[in-house]
Structure formats: structure tokens, C-alpha cells
Symmetry: C2
Subunit: 214 residues, 2 copies
DNA sequence: CCGCAAGTGGAGAGCCTTTTCCGATTACCG
DNA sequence: CGGTAATCGGAAAAGGCTCTCCACTTGCGG
């Protein structure tokens, strides 16, 4: 009989190794959230009480570790979109998606860079991400249909908002949460259909761009 | 007779040294704008065609060079505020200030971090900065008075906008200019008095925060 | 035109990162 | 138990940065 581990991450590891691997992912998530993506590997090693070599034996590069850690962040995001789509009021759903995603960004300093990158190293994420985007597009369509969301809201405006919120989340220190809420408050008001005024053209924002920064 | 140099920056330098100093400031400004504040000193040295030692003889630290370079950026900002205040229509003046500052941010990658820091190392800048802030506060007062700017616009909302725009400017690559314009377009619409809806409380944003990032 | 203080550039010290190496240790199967 | 392959952790290699040191060069007053 083949024993399937609780985590489908890696089978065939010695139990102590598996244990270490799990703890690494755990503390790495905390460290990235707290200190940002540029926390040194040795700091993660210290927190997990292992040597750096152990990190590199499980994850070939730092980038691989990052992507592994944030795989489920993406899932949480996708869930937020699903929730929004499930709301009978598409406008309320739209607002809740944006509010949730922005709150996640504030709570986790490493979140944005990884969220907006396309995870080239993990096939599964690409698919999930694409699905979430389709769902969101559908939500946008319904909200416009209902006359609540302005007609000229562009798909790229979500990215714009995320980039803007990232600026606030990264810079506002203690007050980041409050600042982000206020920014989102302002932007949601200008997204409403009732008060739409002509606007500069939407920018063809490349999602990759956020990645190469930081 | 005492000879006063054209640049009041440093008198008593040998002419070749003064020449080098000027060129360093010149190319450093370009380099910061192009590559951001984290461009290596050796790159600036290369561009100015001097050795790194020459950089450090004129500017004790990299930070000192940065502050020196951005001293006149602050002046440009202050001028933008003055222009806005001079406009007979305070709302139009308010918009122009914000549009100008945001455009500067996009054009110059190093701008924001320095702009929002308090320049602890340069007395003169502190005063000029304080003056600009008073001017802007007055502009805000008038715009509210005229019934164009929403009453609950907070002083910290300018900082919020600058942080948000910084996120866009830093992340949007090629499309940064268009993205920034659109963000500013959205936000200016929600700053208008007519369509004000209740908003989350303004955040007590600490200007210093941007500095310790990056 | 000469002497020397002021100025110079490149090598490298010191520090921080990511990533690799390797001898010591340990889980696990029989 | 005991042998062995998997796993371990710390040391250090490799490469980035800021900033310093020092032997050489040069503008300029007399």
C-alpha cells in the first residue's frame, strides 16, 4: 500500500525532512509578510531552526520558495472573486472583491509582487489565475449591466488599483491599513456609474512590470 | 576682490574640481531619474568619468549626494504649488498642483522617496518645504470654500495620493505615464464636492515612512 | 617655470546577500 | 541492532554594494 502524506507537496521524504520542509514554508510565509520579499534566506533558516543548506535542498532558489509560499495566496484571492460573484448584488460583490484583495495586500508585504507575477514556474497557478480573471471579468460585466459600475471601467483598472494600493501598503507604515481603506474608499466612489466623468485613456499595463521592480 | 562662483555651491574649489562636482550632480540626477535611487555609486562615477573616490570627496555619503541632487526638485514642487495658488479658480489650481506633482513622480524614479523625506540634512529645504505645505493648505481651504473640493478632504490625502501614485509610477513600466494620469483622473473625480459620499477615516500617515522603505 | 597643496582614480576593505560544498549525523529497512 | 543513503548545519565561495586608502598627477600663486 502506498502511503499518501497529508500534504501532497512531496512524497518520499524522510519524516524529519518533511517536517522541516513544512516548518520552512510556515515561517517563510510569516517572514515574507512581516519583512517583505527581500528578507535574507538566513533569517528564514534561523526562524525555522535549520541551516541554509536545508532551505536550498528543498527549494532550488529563493524564487522557488517564494512561489511555493504564495501559491495559496492566489487561491485565497480566487476565493474572494468567487464570493463576490456569488453575491446577488454585483456592485456589492465587486466592492467586496476589491476590499478583500487590498486588505490582503496590506497584511502581507510580499503579497503583491508575487500576485501580479504570472508564476512562470508553477503551471497550476497559471490556470487558476486565468480562471479568477475570467470570473472577475464576468463580475464587472454584471455590475455594468446593473448600472452601478461606470461603463468605461477598464479591465486594467484593477491592476491600476492594486499597484496604487501597493504603493500605500508599502509606504504608510503603521497607518497602512487605514490609508489603504481610505484610498479604496475614494476609488470605489469614482468607479460608481452615477458620477462618471470623462477620464484619461486606460493604460495598457503589463502585469509583469510589478515583478521586475522591488 | 573676492570672486564669487556662478554656482554658490562651494567656493574655494579648484576649477577642475568644481567642474567635476558640477558634472557629478548632472549625471547623478539623470541616473536617479532613470534607474532609481539604488543605482550604484560606481555607475554615477562612470557616467561622470571620474573615480568613485572623487564622488566621496565631494559628497561624504551617497545619501548626501541624493539630497543635494534633489534639492531643486523640491523647488520645482514649491513652484507648482505657487502656480496653483495663483490660479483664480482654486479647484483648477488644486487639480493642476496634483497633476504636476504626479507627472514629476512618473518622470523621475528617485523623486518620491526624497520628496517625502524631510531632508534632515539640509536646513534650507525644511523651511521651503514647510512653506509649500502652508501654501497648499491655503489652496485646499479656498477650494473647499468655493464648494468644489469635498469638505472631508484631509491634509494627509495628498500624501496618500502621492504614495498611491508612487506605486503606479514605480510598477507600471512603459505605461506608467498613462496609468498615473488615469489614477489621478479617478481620484480627482472623487475629490469633487458634488459627489462626496462618506469615507473611511483619514490615516495619520507619517511622511517619514516612505523614506525608510526602498 | 617651479613647488606643493589640492585633487585624482583604482584597488581593496568590510559588509551584505545568494548559493554551494562537505564532513558529521540520523532515520529507517532488514 | 547495524549499515547506509538521506539529511543535516555551518563554513565559505561568488558577487553585489558603500566607502577608504594611498601613490600618482595637476592647477596655480609666486
Amino acid at each position: 500500500m502506498i502511503v499518501v502524506k497529508t500534504e501532497p507537496s512531496r512524497i518520499g521524504l524522510r519524516v524529519d525532512a518533511q517536517h522541516n520542509r513544512d516548518r520552512i514554508l510556515e515561517v517563510a510565509a510569516d517572514a515574507f509578510a512581516e519583512l517583505g520579499l527581500d528578507v535574507p534566506m538566513i533569517e528564514i533558516a534561523r526562524r525555522a531552526e535549520v541551516g541554509v543548506a536545508t532551505l536550498y535542498r528543498r527549494f532550488p532558489t529563493k524564487s522557488a520558495l517564494v512561489h511555493e509560499v504564495f501559491a495559496d495566496q492566489l487561491t485565497t484571492c480566487a476565493a474572494a472573486v468567487d464570493d463576490g460573484l456569488a453575491d446577488p448584488d454585483p456592485w456589492r460583490g465587486f466592492c467586496s472583491v476589491i476590499e478583500k484583495i487590498c486588505a490582503m495586500q496590506v497584511a502581507d508585504r510580499g503579497f503583491t509582487a508575487v500576485f501580479l507575477s504570472t508564476f512562470p514556474e508553477r503551471e497550476a497557478n497559471v490556470a487558476e489565475r486565468a480562471r479568477a480573471e475570467r470570473q472577475f471579468a464576468e463580475l464587472v460585466r454584471r455590475a455594468k449591466e446593473a448600472g452601478k459600475l461606470r461603463r468605461d471601467f477598464a479591465h486594467s483598472d484593477l491592476t491600476l488599483l492594486i499597484m496604487a494600493n501597493n504603493g500605500v501598503a508599502g509606504s504608510a507604515g503603521e497607518a497602512a491599513a487605514a490609508a489603504s481603506r481610505r484610498l479604496v474608499g475614494y476609488l470605489l466612489q469614482s468607479f460608481r456609474a452615477e458620477q462618471a466623468q470623462p477620464l484619461p485613456a486606460p493604460a495598457p499595463i503589463n502585469l509583469q512590470d510589478l515583478f521586475c521592480r522591488s
